[in-house]
Symmetry: C2
Subunit: 260 residues, 2 copies
Amino acid sequence: MAPNEIRKLISSAQITGPTAGMAKGYTQANLAILKKEYAFDFLLFCQRNPKSCPLVDVTEVGSYNPSTIANGADIRTDIPKYRIYKDGVFTEEVTDIKDYWEDDMVAFLIGCSFTFETPLIEAGIPIRHIEENCNVPMYKTNIECAKAGVFEGPTVVSMRPMSQADAIRAIQITSRFPGMHGAPIHIGDPSIIGINDIHKPDFGDAVTIKEGEIHVFWACGVTPQAPQAVAMQSKPSIMITHAPGCMFISDLKDEKLSVL
Amino acid sequence: MAPNEIRKLISSAQITGPTAGMAKGYTQANLAILKKEYAFDFLLFCQRNPKSCPLVDVTEVGSYNPSTIANGADIRTDIPKYRIYKDGVFTEEVTDIKDYWEDDMVAFLIGCSFTFETPLIEAGIPIRHIEENCNVPMYKTNIECAKAGVFEGPTVVSMRPMSQADAIRAIQITSRFPGMHGAPIHIGDPSIIGINDIHKPDFGDAVTIKEGEIHVFWACGVTPQAPQAVAMQSKPSIMITHAPGCMFISDLKDEKLSVL
């Protein structure tokens, strides 16, 4: 099915769950909605931290149409499940946010690693969490994001274990996507970036790590909106995000984001 | 001389002219200063038009220190010459802007093509305007920028004529710098992008085009601040830019901006 057909099923609540594997080859995005008073600082935060916050679209103030990546879409209804945070505290999960939308809101669509996983798989690199049919493991690190206005906090990374040879190839392949997390930010010993137990991710699921495999860490789009992380620390009066795994499916082809 | 030493000479008005060729290997940047009321729209404009507006730094509201790329620098004094525009009209040229600075101003530093010219030259590709010791020729095109709030207008391109073989190599090399204009946006017939007379650039100087050479066009950092172009069309009450050729010299190494 084409992205706009899937979005129609989502907006009519016929799809209310995770979007992994849907509309293969099309970019899926994380969502963060904030009021205008926070929008400049948040946009600046993304600009200063492009590896963890690769923006694929930002709406005009008050607009719920991410026109650059999905003309005609409605960000208030086209995501299967949303989370509402008030003063930095999670209050509820809903399937549309029409009742929460305000005229001065701005929607930020932030890329996710689904985009570079497709070319990794096509290059024959096994992706463990896909093999094990679970979420990618994610960890808070000791790598501080570059601060912008009220927004600050630690970089969150996703981790994929692989052979050394695959790690080299994965660095090459993801370097072609500088606008979608780009090359890894760390390989090897997790403790160097402040991860004490690789088997206990802060978000997502633990995966099997085989003898001799190397840990490869990419900056993660969850960074700005993870609970107890960047945006929540600044306690905006209201913030809306997608629910975990329930992403926005755009009309943008992943391959358009490759620079080489 | 190191970038900070040159900036000291500039801030004490011992250097008041163009910065081309200074601090080789270090990134130079275009400047645009706007008041906060325009800052979100302008930042969004840059985010939506990354090839013409590659941001290398944006200051916090009210801060004149571009701390990401030049800690301790003062954007009000460290550029040889500035231009003041009021309501979209050029009013004067000054060597420092301390008298114009306001508490709600934001400074945008936008990359320039000096960054990718160095690796082109190192690859043995002759750069005509450097050979002829003049400014790169720049042209307004019929390629509309993606609009953002009040900001809209045509993309400005810079043009470098070269052999077909060099053009292929130049595409490869500049693709390594997606954060600094990246690959060309057009090669060949200028009329396709709305340029009627390649010998009459809108900005900069005309250069010799030899028999059999191909025109190679890159999106240009002048796009947002060119007279009668994007920012000026929206007539902000005050806007401050660098004077042509008088760029901000940062501490950032050009090679740091390469993704491969």
